[in-house]
Subunit: 363 residues, 2 copies
């Protein structure tokens, strides 16, 4: 099946090349059509509950002094990616830059001078082919760990997430190709902080609560987001997100749920509109007596909050706006770590079971 | 044995408390003796080949307005750590702050106001007790992954590093308590970049070269450094370090080999003077035709280079100074990723085997 899908992906890239070839044969000026990226062309789809790209597109011509550089870069990335897929190898964005950095024969012109050029060419290729970077065999940063009563297969290895000691399985940059063999869990708990994960893992919270625990360190990587989405869509596991009470934590949740602005074109493969927010919420501060752990907002926190309040998908959501207004009024953040003050295992034994039992989540 | 060592550690902390209690009983002003930290008291031990703390110490008295706050914090951390050890739980530095953040009964004074206070108290306790933070059950940041033909035991789980798919085993913040069950490897290869690790892991370089591959993302965590040291001292595996050709890469190597300035007191548990530098070196640029991949130094790179040249352990090492002078002359850096331009598997198939065969390393 994996081989099959490789052939399909290579075919998409081949067709792109053949299309250009035909344009040349007909004596036309070869071009590629690229959807426009950026906030101006990002829409929130109420129906799908995710960020999507609008219909704006631009054509990029070979015989156009302003276009030729980008045109060549896009075609060069397509060729590189086809080779990667066919040889079943993966490479990082940084490495793509080095592999494309060569002088065009007979000239003094380099195909690329800077990594921002290859990064953009890769994103363009995602848009043109409707294949994700992962499917193009180009990897992003790796980060994060997972534990739970789950057995997967990856590159021929059988991996038991319940037997990973204190470390967990390191989540790879591409989670596209792993296969779920056994999944004994009722839900997935994702958190933004590795230290919280360590604590929950030591408590074997995944066993006690019958769940899968996943942590990044900061913003969730694409590998993590795709993994969450696959656990939901393929294994029917609800996904709960656990972050600090601050605008940054809320945006981490927003990116997992609705997709992110910069990757709006990949929302279908990455976003999870059914994700639920496990807290921290404003009411938890009172309820769990966390007042003394409030940390006053700095300017950068306040302005981030204002920015988030302006996003369409928050602005049109009453429950969320109420929550953000409460945050503004409080003018302080609270970290998940504050629960430790109530006992090392407070989260495992009290907070998480209570939240799950109540089954009331901000949507 | 683990239980035995727990009892020993708890005893060290208990003795600290008992000592203070006796001082009080005798009507003395209770104090603790703390070695002075900071560059002024950091020495390079030629004999041991690592950074160590000098003999400077200071006494911290309870009945001294300038000392009492730090005195109380140190004792409070000792008490917290004793509880952690006895309940066999671990907690992060951030969580230590929250657990210690309480008001002293009958006063309006908080034990701590800021995490920098608890962080320092933990470091002081390391110095006073000669136990590392890991041994005190306080964890640092977690980061990095490992693969190789090695089987370990950790918290009752048997973990096979050769069957971790594309992800690897996530290296925990504390690698103190893992047990090596089977080690089939000739050496350890540590690299600063996760993307390089991904590439080598996909090539199964650890199988082809019969080694263990370990990556962090940037500076090696304490968990990684301790793991490297244990693989060398307990398993007799030479450790090779692979970094970019720039002052930052060289300092990553320096910290692994000699210890770091801020953790000079923990060098004995973390440093590995026998570590060898696998490159990139100045001569590799010519040899592997990497000239076109030179990236000109920014001011921050140049000044970092000057700083490193000033460190005693470099200044008195002829081979290293020659290398650093070459770097200064070149005035540019080269990234490991540049090898990708020569073929995706160039490192696995050519660079690494050649370096290992030659067996000539900067020492």
């Amino acid at each position: 099946m994996a081989e099959d899908s490789s052939k399909k992906k290579a075919k998409v890239l081949e067709d792109l090349g053949l299309g250009l070839y035909k344009q040349i044969e007909k004596g036309e000026n070869p071009y590629v059509t690229v959807p426009i990226r950026g906030l101006s062309n990002v829409k929130y789809s109420k129906e799908k509950g995710i960020l999507t790209l609008g219909s704006g597109v631009s054509r990029r011509y070979f015989l156009n002094v302003g276009h030729v550089r980008k045109f060549v870069q896009t075609v060069a990335v397509a060729s590189l990616s086809k080779n990667l897929i066919e040889s079943d190898k993966h490479t990082s964005l940084r490495d793509v830059f080095y592999q494309m950095r060569r002088t065009i024969p007979g000239t003094k012109v380099d195909v690329v001078d800077d990594q921002t050029e290859t990064d953009k060419a890769v994103e363009d290729l995602e848009l043109i082919t409707d294949l994700t970077r992962e499917q193009l065999h180009i990897t992003a940063n790796k980060n994060g760990a997972v534990a739970g009563d789950v057995i997967i297969e990856d590159r021929g290895d059988t991996i038991d997430w319940s037997k990973m000691g204190s470390g967990g399985w390191a989540i790879p940059s591409t989670t596209e190709d792993i296969t779920f063999k056994k999944v004994n869990a009722k839900f997935v708990l994702y958190m933004e902080k590795a230290a919280i994960w360590d604590r929950l893992n030591e408590d074997k919270a995944w066993k006690k609560l019958n769940c899968v625990i996943i942590a990044s360190q900061g913003q969730a990587t694409r590998g993590i987001r795709r993994l969450l989405q696959r656990l939901y869509t393929e294994q029917n596991l609800p996904v709960y997100v656990l972050t600090d009470f601050d605008p940054w934590g809320f945006y981490i949740y927003s990116a997992i749920k609705f997709g992110s602005i910069s990757l709006a074109h990949a929302s279908e493969k990455l976003a999870l509109p059914q994700a639920k927010f496990m807290g921290l919420l404003a009411d938890d501060i009172e309820r769990y007596d966390l007042k003394r752990h409030l940390i006053k907002f700095k300017d950068v926190d306040s302005s981030r909050l204002q920015q988030i309040k302006g996003y369409e998908w928050f602005r049109n959501n009453k429950a969320w706006m109420e929550e953000l207004n409460k945050m503004e009024k409080i003018g302080s953040k609270v970290e998940l770590n504050a629960f430790t003050a109530k006992g090392l295992s407070f989260m495992t034994e009290k907070y998480l079971p209570e939240k799950i039992k109540e089954d009331k989540f901000l949507d």
